[in-house]
Symmetry: C2
Subunit: 274 residues, 2 copies
């Protein structure tokens, strides 16, 4: 890494959108060091804003803004034009498009509007559900879950369940262990709601070795033996076949990508039922 750049983000809320965009851009430049420690949330004052822009200019930074306040956005735009600052406003072009089409103005209310609406309560209860029915703790949860996730150890069942729960889905998960029979209650779950996770054995061995290392344990156990892992995965496949579950290969997939595939599958199943 010999090239580096500072990214400033300015928001009148917490600036999550900018952070997502920066994350997506960063992976496109593996040889550039992004210094993204300059996050300025809750900016509502013109003087404060100009102070930040001046610092950004000194550092030759790129400034990303999600200001919803039109006056502040205008100040930042004018400053950037006159000082040749690299300034990228994510909100205003979108607002302009909407104005052009619908002739309406944004309310310019900063921040995620925290509504105690159905969606909010659904999300909270989904998270509590996922914690309660994690790791096969209580298989009765399978009956009321939106989906039951199955997989051998270290196929990312728990993180996937929590990520989906955060998006409002009620998820239970069950570890598959060849020596332990699958709970009978799974027979009552519709196959559309059963998701099996699979992974390349070599990758799984790597993940498991890392796990053992982090626990301060040695490497040479059957837990990380590739032949043993292959047998475990073959057993998992036989279970997926028996229950005609949807199978997702998580090798090289991020939690977000796997979650997306689960959501698409669940949407399709719901559509089929209608």
């Amino acid at each position: 890494m010999n090239k580096e750049i500072a990214i400033y983000t300015i928001s009148d809320s917490i600036g999550e959108t900018s952070q997502k965009l920066i994350g997506a851009v960063m992976v496109q430049y593996p040889d550039v060091a992004f210094r993204n420690a300059y996050r300025f949330p809750f900016v509502t004052d013109e003087q404060e804003l100009v102070g930040i822009l001046k610092d950004a200019k000194k550092e030759d930074a790129i400034v990303i803004s999600t200001l919803v306040n039109r006056r502040l956005a205008q100040v930042a735009k004018e400053y950037s034009l006159s000082e040749s600052l690299a300034y990228y406003d994510l909100m205003q072009p979108f607002f302009s498009m909407i104005e052009e089409k619908l002739h309406v103005q944004p309310i310019e209310k900063p921040g995620i509007v925290h509504k105690l609406d159905t969606e909010y309560f659904q999300r909270i209860s989904a998270i509590e559900f996922a914690v309660k029915y994690d790791d096969g703790k209580n298989p009765q949860g399978f009956l009321t879950a939106d989906a039951v996730i199955l997989g051998v150890s270290r196929t990312s069942k728990t993180p996937l369940s929590m990520y989906l729960a955060n998006r409002g889905h009620k998820i239970a998960n069950l570890p598959l262990i060849p020596e332990v029979p699958v709970p009978q209650v799974l027979d009552q779950v519709d196959s559309d709601r059963i998701i099996g996770l699979i992974c390349q054995p070599e990758k799984l061995v790597k993940i498991r070795s890392n796990r053992l290392e982090s626990l301060g344990l040695g490497h040479t156990t059957s837990y990380t033996d590739v032949e043993k892992v292959r047998r475990e995965l073959a057993y998992a496949q036989s279970i997926f076949k028996k229950y005609q579950s949807q199978v997702i290969d998580v090798t090289d997939k991020s939690i977000e990508e796997t979650a997306y595939l689960v959501e698409e599958h669940l949407k399709k199943s719901v559509a089929k039922l209608r």
Copy 2:
């Protein structure tokens, strides 16, 4: 709601950045119905892309793109210009700014790069930690947690813990109940790592009533009695005072906003230690 608009999102990955932006924009137009069901991920083919753009044009939609492939982005841009389609490319302006400053090109690799790096393993183990030490299940976890979250029932301890865990923080949480003494092990936790959640009593009553309703229970219990709730909250404040914990008022805050404040507090505490 008498105005409505369709939003198409096009990505060569899952399109999370667009979704975040749309969420932030939508709250600025409470009277507009956004039809955001047109999410096109994994677009890698020119013909497919043009097909989507044609549909968008027919519907008079706004198209948001996070295509990293320059050729596809160019095709979409040219189509939009010639057909006057409202097209908003989030990636390319950012790429141009970087090119201008550093003279480097993006690798144009679609998708979240899924690396089995330290950060990934840290996130997975943080999520497992939060599940294990949720709801005061095992107070020994307080000793190794990055933060211990305290609060009376329904102050969003669990969702907050899971959200922070997903961002790599090891979080334990403990419900505060006036009749139940706080585990002694909390005395060994540095006050910088203790976070107390507080909420306006009226709001908490509303949240609890909703909770009971969702469980099919009536309203008239001490759980939702505002005087009783006030006493619970006073007890919580006395605990926060005793442990000199950071106190966050979660009234009207989204999980994301509260999580942001916790992270900022933890950062400051770490900085203080250095």
